[in-house]
Symmetry: C2
Subunit: 315 residues, 2 copies
């Protein structure tokens, strides 16, 4: 589908890093960056921006922090058409740590929040906008949000200056009819704003739901190379670009990146379609119990995992 308003955001390093605490080599991150630039990707989200006093550099790699020097080591002044995005979690960033846009290679801050944090998210988004950045709000876990709470969120966002709001299928539990319903609500509540979509692939619907969102009018789309991301992962970039007909996007650099950098990670990181992730998705649950199971020695004992989940539900 060709629609010139559509923007694609690669979050390979940011969401993939949830699986290895952002312990990627510089060579890897540079490889992803170069591929995004060559493929014509609109935004590359390189990591989380977090306070140094909240997380340890011994435990977490540099893309949990996104220090300016580390960014510039990858991309210099980033004189390309690919903008740089970072994600900020509410409560894990200090306003004073955010330098003015004129001193940073970052273009976009994406503020991740839960529904009950929307006031803080809008405040942070306004703060970074006032410092010269672009901003989005990505409200997570919408599949668990009540109708009343969602209405309140949408009203607050409508009254804000934040131009982009994301539909986020955190648990990979939404079906196409859920997408249609939510997109309808987001669009009618937020006239003039851009709607984005971030999916998870627990039930193999991340790409399908992205297409559904495109049909329903979403214009900012997240994807990752070979779908790498937490648990079941995200919408695969190579599929999204094969669907979009805008000639500015090139699929060949993505395939090269997958071959050189992403596929080799499969030996160490179990992202993708695995039965435990599928079970949490189908049940609309947070994937944490599945992630713990997949990190255990009995990760291939799907039946015991299923039984443990069903028993927990019945209690």
């Amino acid at each position: 589908m060709y629609r010139k308003e559509i923007k694609v955001l690669d979050c390979t390093v940011r969401d993939g890093g949830l699986m290895n605490k952002w312990q990627f080599s510089k060579d890897f991150v540079k490889g992803v960056y170069d591929s995004c630039v060559a493929a014509g990707i609109d935004y590359m989200e390189i990591g989380y921006i977090s306070s140094e006093d909240q997380f340890s550099h011994d435990e977490f790699g540099p893309w949990k922090f996104c220090a300016e020097d580390d960014l510039r080591e990858i991309m210099g002044d980033n004189n390309t058409d690919t903008k740089i995005s970072v994600m900020a979690d509410i409560g894990r960033i200090k306003y004073d740590d955010i330098r003015p846009k004129s001193e940073s290679v970052i273009d976009l801050f994406r503020v991740a929040c839960y529904d009950y944090q929307i006031d803080k998210a809008i405040e942070l988004a306004h703060h970074v906008m006032d410092k010269g950045y672009e901003a989005t709000i990505n409200m997570m876990a919408v599949s668990k949000v009540s109708e009343r709470a969602l209405n309140q969120v949408l009203e607050d966002v409508a009254n804000s200056r934040v131009p982009i709001f994301y539909l986020v299928d955190s648990f990979g539990s939404l079906y196409s009819e859920d997408i249609n319903n939510l997109m309808q609500r987001y669009k009618s509540a937020l006239p003039g704003k851009t709607i984005g979509f971030h999916g998870h692939n627990n039930t193999q619907l991340a790409f399908a739901n992205t297409i559904e969102c495109i049909i329903d009018g979403a214009n900012m789309l997240d994807a990752t190379m070979l779908g790498i991301g937490r648990g079941a992962g995200n919408c695969p970039m190579e599929l999204l670009l094969s669907f979009l007909k805008n000639p500015k996007y090139k699929i060949e650099p993505i395939i090269k990146c997958i071959q050189d950098y992403i596929y080799p990670l499969k030996k160490d990181i179990d992202w993708g379609y695995f039965i435990p992730y599928m079970i949490t998705g189908a049940q609309n649950d947070h994937p944490r119990s599945a992630l713990a199971w997949m990190a255990s020695e009995h990760k291939d004992d799907y039946l015991s995992y299923y039984e443990s989940v069903v028993k927990n539900k019945e209690i």
Copy 2:
């Protein structure tokens, strides 16, 4: 979605066998059969029925032929609620080899054909119906069939006694809007008949397209355990059952079967989401070049495969 008319058909052994020439152990086939019965699956398609003089028993396992004795070794008289299906390719079966239903444990013949074989397919379907079996016609590769040819096929099927006609996404190349369009055409051309769907997962849309077909009125749905099947494979049974709300279906036996029998096959058979299969799907091509690539020593050289396909297209 609960709709009592919906029937689920497992084609794990039949479609999965395309990847290993049906060289499954008896233990494996019995395991799949027992799981289908325990899970409440309506039909299990156990293989192809083919003439003994067309294929060699040295090269192909018993489920390329589905001899009555081999069937009964797995299921006895099949005194269960799960019916037994076989697939027949046009030109690879002799009418005289088909015994009357009263002498067979087979319940359903599914006749696979291309659009230009529809007359022969209807003749074969009528033949098996007259011998007491149920019958479907599965017209393959609809994504390559012209509008005029499809109209002719639908008219011929409408005028036949065959009660079930399948929408088959052979190349895994259909998007949801294609599904909506084709389902609309099939339904309006075939009043009173049941529409089935068989998807392939090249672009991770087999499950999504199955849901789309359900919404659009399809009532006979193919799936396989863990999506095993030719190339990228099929709609995963565990996902389909997690979506259907009919309490007669049990997911636990499917998960047990995957753990005990299907997952171990992953070591030897590369079905599922791989870049070469994704490329043929996105390009609406037969997967044969991708299958050959995946069987070669350079199977992980995705970029060379992509370049070879693009160059072939440009010639």
